[in-house]
Symmetry: C2
Subunit: 216 residues, 2 copies
């Protein structure tokens, strides 16, 4: 059986994150379209859902990502990640710490959000598999997100020995400078999920990456 | 070593549930006082917390309940329950279903909320260890809670072969009719946590139970 996690680092490139819309049918349609367009990873992030609805969404996304051979990562909730056979878990600075996540899920990828070089260093030291750096640009999705900026991204990408996924306000116009700063992946919420065509949007990010220096 | 879960059914009697206050120091003080007064179980229920703060609270409550030989139960999040060595997990109808919780936590007690006799029957059939029935009275803690009423409680208590914990708007004045309806335990949020003295409040519930027919 092909393990989706084979070559997982190359699957951080077009990393689409779900939004909090109530219409889960529409959300799953957007996820499916994003995968058809070339999204390489889907993160289930649902801050308002109870465990039941999140579990059902996760099982659907696991099915879709398995078909597409894309990574499926769950934000915050290790229990949902375990029950839906996720490839990984992504935690922020206020979620369960990386080391404790590892206790519950020794075989999964663990991503940790970092806003500063210090947080990125700590994540690597604590055994994170990749680090999510941001917000690189101001964002509407997380109104309270600290704006880390491109310079912080460049500093972390230059010193980190684990892959660096950039997040926060990334759209097609801004993606080139994010890649030029050394990002291994582009984490995107609204520029894919709220695009008129999530499929075209994901495809645009994928081809932009292929044509960049990062893919060489 | 004495297992706190020995004789766990008798520890559902004074079942105090945490509220969502921001001041966690004050919350832990209330928990400690409730235990000193005779609370037999503490449920960590924090709907607004991220995993990190909830984990820290859980570790503190585990320490306090271990000293008091009281049950410690986590609402909704199985991951936090596992990491904090909880005795059990409590799930509502929109949380992870009982059977899936059991997969992750085969050795823990599982409580399931039920608003109707049908939901209570389903919980028992799905392997719940106890059922939480309510809201027996209108409540301010859960504004959206369906009011099940004393009659539903009586019907469930009369047919259920697992313990029945009543919840929703229970205070000292109303507790006697809840016990008379057949409840095995009194789940209480504000009447203990927001009492001028959580210790005196817990003690009052405990002695009310001891003097009731239920304790014979
Ligand atoms: Ni939550």
């Amino acid at each position: 059986m092909i393990d989706i996690r084979d070559d997982w680092k190359s699957k951080l490139v077009v990393y689409a994150i779900t939004d909090d819309r109530e219409d889960t049918k529409s959300l799953l349609a957007a996820v499916e379209a994003a995968l058809a367009g070339g999204a390489t990873a889907i993160q289930l992030r649902r801050k308002r859902d109870d465990g039941g609805p999140m579990l059902r969404l996760g099982l659907e996304i696991r099915r879709l990502t398995r078909e597409a051979r894309a990574l499926y990562i769950v934000n915050d909730r290790v229990d949902i990640a375990l029950l839906t056979e996720a490839d990984g878990i992504h935690v922020g600075q206020t979620d369960i710490p990386c080391k404790r996540v590892r206790e519950l899920a020794p075989d999964k990828l663990i991503g940790v959000s970092a806003r500063t070089t210090a947080e990125a260093f700590e994540a690597e030291r604590d055994g994170a598999d990749y680090v999510g750096v941001g917000a690189v640009f101001p964002t509407t999705t997380k109104a309270d997100a600290i704006h880390s900026g491109i310079d912080t991204l460049r500093a972390i990408a230059g010193t980190s020995s684990i892959p660096v996924v950039a997040i926060g306000g990334i759209d097609i116009a801004r993606a080139p400078q994010v890649l030029a700063a050394g990002a291994d992946g582009l984490a995107v919420v609204s520029a894919i999920m709220s695009a008129p065509s999530p499929r075209d949007a994901a495809r645009a990010f994928a081809s932009l990456y292929r044509e960049s220096d990062r893919s060489r």
